[in-house]
Symmetry: C2
Subunit: 228 residues, 2 copies
């Protein structure tokens, strides 16, 4: 099985789909999702075995399928959860903000996401690299709208000469690329600069320079300036 397409019925038991915070199955679902995120993010959809997810979650395979009916369905739940995390955590950027401050903060927040949820980042990357078969529609909807909206803000900043004249969408692509690379390409980074402690070495020592470089690259300034 390679492609994921149709929608299967919602996750089973427990009236409504949510799962009540105290029910027996709630903890189980949590464990399963956590385990699944880890496995899917490393092996991709096809490479992941339900058996391994079950093992990591500490229960038999049958039990995993009991909660999430099918592997496909489990995958969808996991990846949609990741996308939500992404979109929610992005925070807001408003036209009134100081461009330099607002974007520095945004970039730092994005960097924190990579740091705190590297597996989520990698899972997202695998999904997109594979053509985004599951979340493609969401990207064309929610994400696209978000970019369009923020793009307008960039545009106004550019009018005031407080941001370099770069296509707003591309500005985001740059920022996302750089921030996510620290999660997605961790293996490569570790190979190149064998850090004793990845977080300390990379996110604490390396990050400030990277944030600065991005802000400088986007030509973000605090004062209004004449267009060069």
């Amino acid at each position: 099985m390679a492609r994921i397409s149709q929608i299967d019925k919602a996750t089973p038991p427990l009236k409504a789909s949510g799962a009540e915070p105290r029910s027996v199955g709630f903890r189980q679902r949590e464990k399963i999702i956590r385990a699944a995120t880890g496995v899917f993010s490393q092996k991709g959809y096809d490479g992941a075995r339900v058996e391994e997810i079950a093992q990591r979650a500490g229960l038999p395979k049958g039990n995993v399928l009991y909660y999430y009916k099918t592997k496909k369905n489990l995958y969808r739940v996991v990846i949609e959860q990741v996308l939500s995390l992404w979109l929610e955590a992005l925070g807001d950027i408003s036209a009134d903000d100081d461009p330099c401050d607002a974007m520095s903060q945004y970039i730092r927040r994005k960097l924190d996401l990579s740091r705190n949820y590297p597996e989520a980042s990698r899972l997202f990357a695998i999904e997109v690299i594979g053509g985004a078969p599951v979340i493609g529609e969401h990207l064309k909807g929610r994400l696209r709208d978000w970019v369009t909206q923020k793009g307008a803000i960039f545009h106004s900043w550019q009018q005031e000469g407080r941001m370099a004249p770069i296509d707003p969408a591309h500005a985001f692509f740059m920022i996302w690329a750089v921030t996510q690379t620290y999660a997605d390409f961790q293996a490569q980074i570790e190979a190149v600069i064998s850090p004793a402690n990845y977080d300390a070495e990379v996110y604490e020592k390396g990050a400030p320079g990277v944030v600065a470089a991005l802000v400088r690259g986007l030509g973000l300034s605090s004062q209004k300036q004449p267009l060069r």
Copy 2:
């Protein structure tokens, strides 16, 4: 089968492993590699089916296995070829170059790689995201050395105030992240800015701004300047 580890014997027939440019099997191997690159890059190692690779190459499955013995072996050949392409095509950067020119050119070249070999880029990404089980050693060797060497050049530029004081390794991570994102995250970019023609819209219209932003971000200048 999920993990790839031990080394299996080289690709079979044809004395030496190379394959003579005119032999019957030469074209076949080429076709197979091309097909395999495509399939692996989209589905990952486990998701790829030998049958599909064979179909794309226009021959029966048995024939593919005849040339590359095992799926694992085929994967290794493909990915190592990609890494070679990567390292070779990077070109040289020398201390005598003008930082601004040299890096602009380097970035443009890297962007061309993404444009001309998007599948190779995605395959590389999947491998690294999965922990680089196959090319990890190469990264710790060849790539690491390359970065160390070029890093020294960056350092000398920084001494002269012709480059921002950013960790050289991170400078590369940034550049790679940004340039590769156009291949790896194509699906996302297409979702956000539905381009009629990806190449034209993204690489021709978008690229210049991106190159400029990177150069600006890295603080690369043509003249020597006092450290700020």
